[in-house]
Symmetry: C2
Subunit: 213 residues, 2 copies
């Protein structure tokens, strides 16, 4: 499949490389046509790895990953262009965290980044996922000592099913559908707990497992 | 030990009954001197179960549990009286959830109920704990299929150690210290995820386990 990955940071690179490994052709998009990080990444990953600007990567992808920083996501997606994402699935991995400040959320409780993106691009099927884990876990859930859970949130059941299929190819075995895009609030607000767990466990390589009776 | 339990709902009753079972003497406090639910509870639980108003229960307890609704907690604790809680440990189990509305939080992100209580009662050692599980799990963590984690948050290491001892007597085997009282934000904001997990799992009897690599 042709997949667009927006963002050149560690999350975009990790997901992009995994997708190439899985046989997909990936275009990494950034603000500039030839972002040095994207160029280097594409060179390393071979002929199934391409680079371009946000609009080019969005147009290229049958499915698109948003791997930009939460603070930059809406602007990046505007550059990607509604027409290039129309009718497509956008997997939103971003968190609206003020990393420069106190790590508080820039939106929460009665709204979320996932919802803001869905409202801004009503013709795109936004599925929030993978935002709850560090890049060291995101495509390697089997490195954790036990099976953990990953969540999908979005308005389209078909889109969530397609995303779940990709998540399974990454190694995720337990995928919980948390409901429509408003449940993005839940997984974004969880990141405040993630942050203190990171300190308490002295690790970024962890995730949670829901245990029932 | 003499323990005060503020609140007559299912959380207060469940914790109060467990404490009596464990050999403690418990006074359940409420707004009124003789709340019918507290009177009935005390009658059922025998001579180690007492009832009184908030101030009476707080004065009675060497340790105090706040099991009132989050929306009523600050007012209930004012009735309990700073002088009756001075130098004591207050275990805050409440969540600032707007249960009557859309289940959004009434405080979050840059503040929390735990912090509000600590600020209002600076001479009391507030430890946030047990707010992340339903009353069906709170004193029966062993009913879950696997060991899960419970958190303590507070400014005093000694107070957290004392609370951890009580948590172990309830059956909690893995207790994670999340840091000072500001980390109450993390566990209160987690409740938005708890709410959607409740729907997704069709259950209230669950908790999370942190899995590392």
């Amino acid at each position: 499949m042709n997949i667009g990955v927006l963002g050149t940071g560690v999350v975009g690179q990790t997901i992009g490389s995994k997708l190439v490994q899985l046989g997909h052709t990936v275009m990494m998009g950034s603000r500039d046509e030839a972002n040095p990080k994207a160029v280097t990444w594409a060179k390393q990953e071979g002929n199934k790895a391409l680079f371009g600007n946000f609009a080019g990567a969005a147009a290229f992808g049958e499915i698109i990953f948003n791997c930009t920083l939460g603070s930059a996501s809406l602007d990046a997606l505007k550059q990607a262009g509604a027409e290039n994402m129309k009718g497509k699935i956008l997997i939103d991995t971003a968190n609206p965290i003020d990393y420069d400040g106190d790590w508080s959320l820039t939106v929460c409780n009665t709204d979320s980044l996932g919802e803001q993106i869905q409202r801004a691009f009503p013709d795109t099927h936004v599925v929030k996922s993978l935002n709850i884990v560090n890049y060291t876990v995101i495509v390697d859930p089997e490195k954790l000592l036990e099976r953990t859970d990953i969540f999908v949130n979005g308005n389209s059941a078909d889109a969530k099913a397609a995303v779940s299929s990709i998540l399974r190819s990454f190694g995720w075995k337990s995928i919980i559908d948390l409901g429509d895009i408003t449940s993005s609030r839940a997984v974004e607000m969880y990141m405040v707990l993630w942050r203190v767990l990171r300190v308490a466990t002295s690790s970024t390589r962890f995730n949670i497992k829901v245990v029932q009776s």
